[in-house]
Amino acid sequence: MRLIRYRPRSEVDPFSWLSGFRDDLDQFFERKLAPWQAAEGDLLEGAWTPLVDVCEDKDSVLVRADLPGLNKEDIDLSILGSTLTIKGEKKSESEVKEENYHRVERSYGLFQRSVQLPAEVDESKVEASYKDGVLEVKLPKKEAVKGKKVAIKAGEKPGKKGKGGETK
């Protein structure tokens, strides 16, 4: 499973080496944080990256992204080959003076995430919904990749015909 994380500032960010250093530290202490725990990572990278789950059952691939407080119209979905890209913008819903804030933990602004799908999907049958701040994309698998059942014949070794095996 390969996921491409969009990091617009990482190449020019003079502090990007810090996040690598943090990974080293985490490895040293064997306490690698789960993505939903490593909130401070977003600050180092300077970009907001929504958390994504990719699931599959036998008929379809299901992608879910935590996008609380967005307008449906501000989410843009596209598929290219087996890559699903979610992008958009989270706008601040209230005009509040900075000095009136007691706490600011929520992130705003542009985001983009690309996800490698684990199977070929039928692009024409993709369905997406947005409910309770979660984007859910259902991508039906192509008929060909659902996996055809291969019947196993009894009493015959393939490729060994005529070497003492029975021939039908």
């Binding site: 993505p35 725990q37 699931c55 009136n100």
Partner: protein, 117 residues
């Protein structure tokens, strides 16, 4: 109120913004995937606790890659004396809870009688 087994239930803290206006304090908490029925807001004395649960996945689904928290959300806040416990309003929209906490109109001065020794 639901009962819960503490050992089986784990929570992560939701991200919040808190800002103050002359008449009220507004708290916004990000609770993606939590519906109205799965959200509890409790005020116990000066403690306000938000608890949100997420419904589990359907059976027969294989997780290929998971970043989203598998746990629910919980966070407790201490309410100051400025907040009127009777003026708390909550709305949940698109995974964001907005709690509007009205301030006490005017702190009442209490006269303390001094007894003669």
């Amino acid at each position: 109120m639901r009962t819960e087994n503490a050992a089986e239930t784990r929570f992560v803290e939701p991200r919040v913004n808190i800002y103050e206006e002359p008449e009220r304090i507004v708290l916004q908490a990000e609770l993606p995937g939590v519906s109205r029925e799965e959200l509890d807001i409790d005020i116990d004395g000066d403690r306000l606790t938000i608890t949100g649960r997420r419904s589990p996945d359907a059976e027969g689904v294989r997780m290929v890659y998971g970043e989203r928290s598998p746990f629910g959300f919980r966070r407790t806040f201490i309410l100051g004396n400025v907040i009127d416990r009777g003026k708390v309003n909550a709305t949940l929209k698109d995974g964001v809870l907005e709690l509007v906490l009205g301030k006490v109109a005017k702190p009442k001065a209490r006269k303390i009688e001094i007894k003669a020794g």
